[in-house]
């Protein structure tokens, strides 16, 4: 069980590493606006929150 | 727990064979045993274990020779060799690694440490 958890956490790490670096980040690197916020600002905080929730779910699961 | 991992134990001491066989079979591994290096090589002709647990001081063909011989068999490239021996000097250890073994454990050993090492090997290769 612990191994499963380790694998998910490792996956989260690599997955989000790709999301917040180029080239994928380049897709959102514009001066445009999304929902009243700069696109990049919106994207980074959105992904960040996703990361926190993902980690929270994996570690919270066992309890 | 299901487990199809295959393990070969090589030791000339019947009592140590007894212990290892008991411990490993309890974990559900498939275990074969040999009493010296030559015997081991005979078995390896049609048995491809994931791990070989090898003693060093044995009659006919010692563990170091056996390990070197095993490392020359291409089919056994993925097999991990673990020395389990009473020979504990630094020179022995180095010689052990030089023959191509991945692990070197010293007798007497702790049952739990031994088993966790084996399961670690099987998990991470």
């Amino acid at each position: 069980m612990a191994d499963d958890r380790k694998r998910s956490l490792l996956f989260i790490f690599t997955f989000f590493l790709f999301l917040i670096t180029y080239p994928i980040l380049g897709i959102f690197d514009h001066k445009t606006m999304t929902l009243g916020m700069p696109t990049l600002f919106f994207y980074l905080f959105f992904v960040w929150l996703g990361l926190i929730i993902a980690v929270g779910l994996v570690v919270g699961n066992k309890r | 727990m299901e487990n199809h991992s295959k393990i070969l134990i090589v030791d000339d001491e019947p009592n140590i064979i007894l212990v290892l066989e008991f411990l490993l079979e309890k974990q559900g591994y498939q275990v074969k045993k040999a009493f010296d290096g030559l015997h081991a090589l005979e078995i390896l002709v049609d048995f491809t274990p994931d791990v070989i647990v090898l003693d060093v001081m044995m009659p006919n063909m010692d563990g170091f020779e056996t390990a070197s011989a095993i490392r020359k068999i291409p089919e056994l490239e993925a097999t991990t060799i673990v020395f389990l021996t009473a020979k504990g000097t630094e020179t022995d250890r180095r010689q052990g690694y030089n023959t191509g073994a991945e692990y070197y454990m010293i007798k007497p050993f702790d049952n739990d440490v031994f088993l966790s090492t084996i399961s670690e090997i099987l998990a991470y290769g």
């Binding site: 990049l40 | 140590i16 411990l23 007798k107 007497p108 049952n111």
Partner: protein, 894 residues
């Protein structure tokens, strides 16, 4: 002032609770909050400043740690387990401990940490000074650069912080370097700075503007601010962004203060899972308003105000001085938190690895007069180190001045901390890494870092000649600090990080592969990499050490104080259930026990050095067995005499060579002997240990038959050990010439008859026939009755061992021929090959019977037999052919 008093009160209260055993800080949320010591004045003032030029690039510094958080479950947990197991108190301790407790490495890491972190501390001083100036309505850098230092506000800030840190971090000496009060105060500060920043953010966004939408919409219309919306337009390259993420990812575990809070102060690894999402959430919250505040400042001030001070200037300008004051307290919190923890962490390293070893070396250990009060001095040393750190930081900030913004100076420190990454992470996962590898990797990385970052900035400040920045070192174009080896077009941080980490990592790996780790490094490597096997204490120590109880107690007293020493020794006594009162010599495990405790107070390398002074170390040997080899000594003595004579008489040279040859042979024999003995003892011990554990663990699953089978093995193997020990002792007696042989007239007929009668039971068990025809004639010789019976027993049991079941025949005969008496013991067993017949009388020869495994025996029986026979002026020989039995013939002169 009130705020500082409050912090002290919290720390005092928590320490008091902790003393009563009710830990307040052992709580995952407090742990996560205390980790937020990561957010310093840099975050509070600097991020906004950075955002006005680099847009969202400031976020990398927080995304990196958040990204690493999922891996804490493996990485940080492992670091904590290792550190608790080894009583590690700092990152320098961690690295030195991994690579054979090397004190050189500890010093090197300390130097890297101190030089690397000084710029970081300096920006805290600057931020606080600028804050005070803004509040007092002065220009932010007023009085900073010119004029005497006593007119410089920053100097007093440094002094105040030093006192603050000294009081906080060195209130008491804890062997594990845990300071609960400190942690509580830090966690509280983290809360304060978060709330303060959120307050100013909400004020700017919702009071000055009409919410996010309004603020961003206005910013989008402004040429200068819309640039900051994307990386492309604000000039941040993909590579620079990536490097920033990586640097901060390393920094979160490798910065000395982060290591201190997350590893050393950690109360249990169970707090990690919660911290893994709470801490990133904290980072997210404290960063949400950074960009809005930066945009607002840029739009409202239009470059007339220093961007690093926007968080203060905005509320001031908008008529909310109370908010500015609250914000300042938040920023002050951030700065003091960082300075206190960083200075504590650095001072632990500095005093444990540099000052204490120096003191030990210069004073020696025999200085009995000053043996008390070292623990007080240790605290003074700590306080002194803290003062020194802050003074250095002050000097640095005075030298560099305000020419760089806060974040760029801070990043210099991040790059320095990242140099520790290969040694730390490699050390935890790569067993093969050696001390030399870590050493060269760290040195090269550090040199490249120093050359590319702090040196040019000092040069630009005019402290050292500026020439090498433009033209390269010694005028060599390839050695320009901002374009090393001709690599151009990167910003200074990415450039330095790229080269220093690349070179560091490669030398670490290459040198490691090409050097051999020493024994201690190997042991430590094993502990670090396979820590899960060592949890729970017992590690098999390769070295066996001895020390006088008196010396050991002295060393402990000196560093831990008498009370603590008493407690430690009592703890040892109760866990091992022994009394040390009358012990003169300290057992090996007590020394190890003492070393781990001492390591807690003064670091692993220093502890080792201290104990080396009082212990003598010996490689593992069978002390008693060694004495058997009296001959060695004789040969040594012989060779010694030869040597002196050789000087006078060249004719003796050949004899000397012979003696040396003999000595070498004996040495080899001794080595062989010990190896064999060790092997022979370990083999049965292995079966005994494992089988008894099996019986213990599986007693409910095993059936009666199995249990008795296993118990029988235990009995047999125990017998095997006792037999071996008896025989080893016999050899010793045989070889010491003073053996008290009681020679008397003995009738050999009786000597032969007695053991045969005694062993009837054994013969019957294997259904073996033993024939002996009682000669009519008396067979008298001079001899020792017991010894001769032993000869007979050995010969008989040897025959018994090889005889086939059920059809074995042992024929014993005794006859007189002229002046000799000949004793024959003949069996019909498997026989001995011709090639081995000579060897069987040597020590540890065992003849293996093909297909039957190894016979039980130690290989000493025939050796002893031969010795006894020879001492009776007799001789022994064997006649045999494979498969046709063996006949042993002993000849005595009548």
């Amino acid at each position: 002032m009130l705020y500082i008093a409050l912090l002290f009160y919290i720390a005092w209260w928590v320490d008091k609770r902790a003393d009563r055993g009710a830990s307040v800080v052992s709580n995952p949320y407090i742990y996560a909050l205390s980790l937020a010591v990561y957010c310093t004045a840099w975050t509070f003032f600097g991020s906004v400043g950075r955002a006005t030029s680099g847009g969202l690039s400031f976020l990398a510094v927080y995304l990196g740690p958040s990204l690493l958080a999922p891996l804490w479950y493996m990485l940080l947990r492992k670091m904590i387990l290792i550190s608790k197991n080894q009583r590690i108190t700092s990152i320098a301790d961690f690295i030195s401990s991994r690579y054979g407790k090397s004190s050189n490495l500890a010093i090197l890491v300390t130097v890297i940490a101190v030089t690397g972190i000084v710029p970081y501390i300096s920006i805290q001083l600057r931020a606080v000074t600028q804050g005070i100036n803004v509040l007092a309505n002065l220009s932010p850098n007023a009085g900073n650069l010119e004029g005497y230092f006593w007119k410089d506000a920053a100097f007093y800030v440094a002094l105040a912080m030093a006192i603050f840190a000294a009081v906080f971090g060195t209130r008491k000496l804890d062997p594990n370097e845990r300071h609960e009060g400190l942690v509580a105060a830090i966690a509280f500060e983290s809360l304060v700075k978060l709330l303060a920043f959120l307050a100013v953010g909400i004020f700017v966004t919702y009071s000055i503007y009409d919410g996010f939408g309004d603020l961003f919409a206005q910013a989008a219309l402004n040429e200068a601010t819309v640039k900051l919306f994307s990386f492309q337009s604000s000039g941040v390259t993909p590579f620079a962004w990536f490097v920033l993420i990586m640097l901060s990812l390393f920094a979160i575990i490798l910065l000395p203060r982060q290591f201190h809070i997350s590893v050393v102060e950690n109360t249990t690894p169970r707090h990690i899972p919660k911290a893994m999402w709470v801490f990133p959430l904290y980072l997210l919250l404290i960063n949400i308003f950074v960009l809005p505040v930066a945009l607002a400042g840029k739009m409202l001030f239009d470059g007339s105000v220093l961007p690093d001070t926007y968080v203060l200037s905005l509320p001031l300008k908008m008529g909310a001085p109370w908010l500015a004051l609250a914000t300042f307290i938040g920023g002050f919190s951030a700065a003091t938190g960082m300075v206190v923890v960083e200075a504590t962490a650095l001072s632990i390293m500095f005093s444990n690895h540099i000052l204490v070893p120096l003191l030990i070396r210069s004073r020696g250990t025999s200085n009995e007069t000053k043996k008390t009060g070292f623990s007080d001095r240790l605290l003074d040393i700590r306080r002194f180190s803290i003062l020194l750190m802050l003074l250095l930081a002050y000097l640095y900030q005075r030298a560099i001045g305000a020419s760089h913004d806060l974040v760029s100076v801070g990043l210099i420190s991040f790059t320095a901390a990242a140099q520790l990454a290969p040694a730390v992470i490699g050390g935890m996962y790569w067993k093969r890494a050696t001390h030399q590898g870590a050493m060269t990797g760290l040195i090269t990385g550090f040199l490249v870092w120093a050359f590319c970052l702090p040196l040019p900035s000092l040069a630009q400040a005019g402290l050292i000649p500026n020439d090498f920045v433009q033209n390269g070192l010694f005028g060599i174009g390839f050695l320009k600090p901002y374009a090393l080896f001709g690599l151009e077009g990167m910003d200074a941080i990415s450039h330095a990080a790229f080269w220093s980490l690349l070179i560091n990592g490669w030398t670490y790996a290459i040198v490691s592969i090409n050097t051999q780790p020493n024994m201690l490094t190997l042991t430590q490597a094993n502990i670090f990499v396979n820590i899960q096997n060592y949890i729970g204490g017992q590690d098999w120590d390769i070295l066996k050490r001895e020390a006088k109880m008196f010396d050991l107690r002295n060393v402990l007293n000196r560093f831990l104080g008498e009370n603590r020493t008493q407690i430690i020794l009592q703890e040892y006594e109760t866990t091992n259930n022994i009394s040390l009162k009358n012990e003169k010599n300290a057992p090996s495990d007590l020394i190890n026990f003492a070393e781990t405790h001492l390591a807690g107070a003064i670091g692993a390398a220093s502890a080792r050095l201290m104990l080396d002074n009082v212990t003598k170390e010996e490689a593992i040997t069978l002390d008693e067995v060694m004495r058997i080899l009296e001959q060695t000594k004789e040969a040594v003595a012989h060779s010694h005499i030869m040597e002196t004579k050789n000087a006078e008489l060249n004719t003796l040279t050949t004899q000397l060579t012979d003696a040396n040859e003999q000595l070498k042979t004996l040495d080899r024999l001794k080595a062989d002997f010990i190896t064999t003995i060790t092997h022979e003892i370990r083999t049965p011990v292995t079966s005994i240990r494992s089988l008894s554990k099996i019986i213990l663990d599986y007693r409910n699953e095993l059936d009666e038959k199995q249990i008795s089978e296993y118990l029988q093995v235990l009995v047999n193997e125990s017998n095997r050990i006792s037999r071996l020990i008896n025989q080893v002792l016999d050899i010793e007696k045989l070889q010491s010439e003073t053996m008290p042989y009681s020679f008397e007239k003995i009738d050999l007929r009786e000597i032969v008859q007695t053991p045969i009668a005694g062993m009837q039971q054994l013969f019957a068990e294997k259904n073996i026939r033993c024939e002996f025809k009682w000669p009519s004639e008396e067979m008298l010789i001079d001899g020792d009755r017991d010894k001769l019976i032993q000869v007979m027993v050995n010969l008989l049991s040897n025959a018994l061992k090889f005889c086939p079941l059920n059809e074995g025949i042992i024929a014993v005969s005794l006859q007189k021929e002229q002046n000799f008496i000949i004793l024959k013991v003949k069996d019909n067993g498997i026989g001995i090959p011709k090639s081995r017949q000579k060897d069987i009388f040597e020590k540890f020869t065992q003849i293996n019977s093909v297909g039957q495994g190894k016979p039980y025996g130690t290989g000493l029986g025939l050796f002893i037999t031969k010795k006894i026979v020879e001492q009776h002026k007799g001789s022994i020989r064997v006649e045999s052919e494979l498969g046709k039995g063996a006949s042993f013939e002993v000849t005595f002169s009548a």
